[in-house]
């Protein structure tokens, strides 16, 4: 209905006609797929002459495979997926991205029992636990499990997922070793030397798996942390915003071959997605309530509106009743959230190296070259310029393309206080007490 009101404007000729008009994009049922749903429902795809079908996928692996074999033209992806695939971790395929879908949006949830055990040692303020909660508080719980001869298990959504790296980052910052990968020895479990065993569970199944007792906690995107609170299954202890302020999250990935074959289509897709992202953040998130209604439809995320609204409208509920403002919990456009920064790509690569998914140490130049192979700010800039020419956006909405080198200034708002500078990945890696450093090999 929404799209029905949008008249089709003159199809500006700044970008050529789409080579392929019928497209199918995959997504996982998470609120950060919102730019895709909005671009569809608001008619942005159609205004680009694109007839898009959006299709929910069973899990991240299926989604990636279907992009590689061409059943999907593109998909909502974990930022680590195009990078992992391109360097050949897991599946080998050249995947690229020209559009980052959002910042933040994840949380770490533990079961009620674990929360009760953690809560005892947490400092309080006004009768509520003091945030952010570090994994230091989890450490005694994990040790107690070990004394009883039990393993402490946590879920994340995919081996190269943001969630895997965030969970590992949080655990390691609290002195817990989340374990290493050793693909050169054929060990891809990521559990070598681990204090906490991490394993893969698809996002929508997280609450059910936690409820079943298979795992004791998890790191996942929304609405699956808030779902746990609503259903009384578990308690979110920290959001990724507190682990790394304004961390890059999902990307929109397509295969390199597809992008080479359909360059105009690619730019037009990015145009539509940029507009959708802007709509989501416009006027201080004024459209979020409408976005929640769209996402709650069964063909998109499908969870209850109130659950989705909890995080999408700038609050986050920790322990039941402990609702706190997190205005930037989901950022879709501001802070140049959609721009594909090389430094974001390099951070993911450092984490792949840190945990052994990249077995050999690599020179700094390799990090940049790999980032440039996968992240495509040129396509983004072409889309942005077209939007500016058409008067749909202004230059102020975007980074200054003439002088943009793809590196964010060094960032220091991490939970462990370590500074990240994308130009010096090895220096960054050498600062971590837990994790592989330059020259290490398992």
């Amino acid at each position: 209905m929404l799209a029905g009101l949008v008249a089709i404007p003159a199809l500006a000729e700044t970008v050529g006609w789409p080579e392929k008009a019928e497209l199918k994009f995959g997504f996982i049922k998470l609120t950060d797929m919102a730019p895709l749903a909005v671009a569809y429902e608001k008619g942005y795809f159609e205004e680009e002459g694109l007839f898009v079908t959006l299709e929910a996928q069973a899990n991240w692996k299926v989604l990636l495979d279907r992009v590689i074999d061409g059943q999907l033209d593109g998909a909502h992806m974990l930022a680590g997926q195009p990078l992992g695939a391109t360097i050949g971790y897991g599946t080998q395929a050249h995947i690229i991205t020209a559009f980052s879908m959002d910042l933040n949006g994840n949380g770490i949830t533990v079961s009620n029992d674990v929360w009760q055990a953690m809560k005892a040692s947490l400092p309080e303020q006004d009768g509520k636990p003091l945030h952010p909660i570090k994994a230091d508080a989890l450490k005694p719980v994990v040790e107690a499990y070990r004394k009883e001869g039990k393993t402490f298990r946590m879920g994340m959504v995919f081996p190269v997922s943001t969630h895997n790296y965030e969970l590992r980052y949080w655990l390691a910052a609290g002195g817990l070793n989340p374990g290493f990968y050793a693909p050169h020895k054929g060990d891809t479990s990521g559990q070598l030397q681990a204090d906490v065993l991490l394993s893969v569970t698809p996002p929508p199944q997280m609450p059910a798996t936690l409820e079943a007792g298979t795992i004791h906690g998890y790191c996942v995107g929304e609405p699956w942390n808030q779902q746990a609170v609503f259903k009384g299954i578990g308690v979110p202890v920290i959001t990724d915003y507190e682990i790394w302020k304004n961390n890059p999250e999902k990307v929109f990935g397509v295969s390199k071959a597809w992008a080479d074959k359909y360059p105009n289509t690619h730019i037009r897709v990015v145009k539509a997605l940029i507009r959708a992202a802007k709509w989501l953040d416009e006027n201080d998130n004024a459209n979020r309530a409408e976005a929640v209604k769209i996402l709650a439809r069964p063909n998109y995320v499908g969870a209850d509106e109130e659950v989705i609204a909890n995080s999408m409208t700038g609050t986050f509920e920790y322990e039941k009743g402990d609702i706190r403002p997190v205005p930037d919990f989901n950022v879709f456009f501001r802070h140049n959230a959609t721009y594909p920064y090389y430094s974001d790509a390099i951070w993911y690569l450092t984490q792949m190296r840190r945990w052994g998914q990249i077995s050999e140490s690599k020179p700094d130049s390799w990090y940049l070259q790999t980032a440039q192979k996968v992240y495509r700010p040129d396509v983004y800039a072409a889309a942005a310029k077209a939007l500016i020419d058409e008067g749909k956006m202004s230059a102020a909405d975007f980074p200054d393309f003439e002088n943009e080198d793809g590196f964010k200034p060094p960032q220091s708002e991490f939970i462990d206080g370590i500074t990240y500078d994308g130009r010096h990945p090895n220096t960054y890696l050498n600062q971590f007490p837990i994790g592989l450093k330059d020259g290490d090999r398992l």
Partner: protein, 333 residues
Amino acid sequence: MVTMTLPDWLAPYRDLMRGKAGPAQQQAVLRQLVWPLLGIALFLLLWHWAAQNIQTSLGQFPGPATVWEQTQALYQEHREGRQREAAFHERQEKYIETRLAQQPDWQPVRRDYTGAPTFFDQVGTSLITVMSGFLLASALAIPLGIVVGLSAGVHAAVNPLIQIFKPVSPLAWLPLVTMVVSAVYTSSDPWLAKSFLTSMFTVTLCCLWPTLLNTAVGVTSVSSDLTNVSRVLRLNAFEHVRRIVLPSALPMMFTGLRLSLGIAWMVLIAAEMLAQNPGLGKFVWDEFQNGSSQSLGRIMVAVQVIGLIGFLLDRLMLALQRFLVWDKSAAQR
């Protein structure tokens, strides 16, 4: 002159209408109407009671009332979906007009609606897929079954394979079928969707066996009198099969076909759930993943519809059997 004959089961009601209410009619009405209705009513009560006592993390287990509510909601969504579709086509016409004004040499292409399929669309997809898979399976199994039944040698050769492949679960076939279809079927503008083909072939592979086996048994058990008649008449092989073997084997073949269709329907839902191929199975899986407070109710609607369709498919085969087989008593129940 056309004579209308009532089906047997309707006769007691005709008699009742004509004022003939004897013990025979009462018995029939009890058996056909009262007992089944009582059974269903009891089931609904039990279901309602049990549902109230099961609390899941997605809320109360859906009872009959919730299911009825969700059925209406799904129908409403279906109607809204149709309106969206109409609006989509309208916008598309406008797009074509605008683009033609700018690019007169462009060949307009009209695209299918890109919105999400509704519940009823999914039912349709599943029905088409199951019938395709079943027809393909029958087309393979019946001729093969006849050959196996006629020749002891072929039977000996094929039997071990049948015995080994018969118990394989659809969940085991699916990954193989998916990979093979992806590898072999690589048209850039496919006429049939890959997802349809994988569902269909999985169904075929799983529901081949009952028809094959039963056809073979049916063919083997043709009475020797009839075979002798065929010899005396010097029927050629084709005529022998057509006039002697097929008619005698038909009841057994239909037993196989009915089993096959039942299996096909069960396999299809499982395959759709696992592979996320369009259809009722995907609907169920999507709802499970949605985890909304309505999800269980909607899944329950799907369960009822799956059951109902399975039942109707079986009745359809039975009707076909009644129509085709000379021995009507073989087509009971």
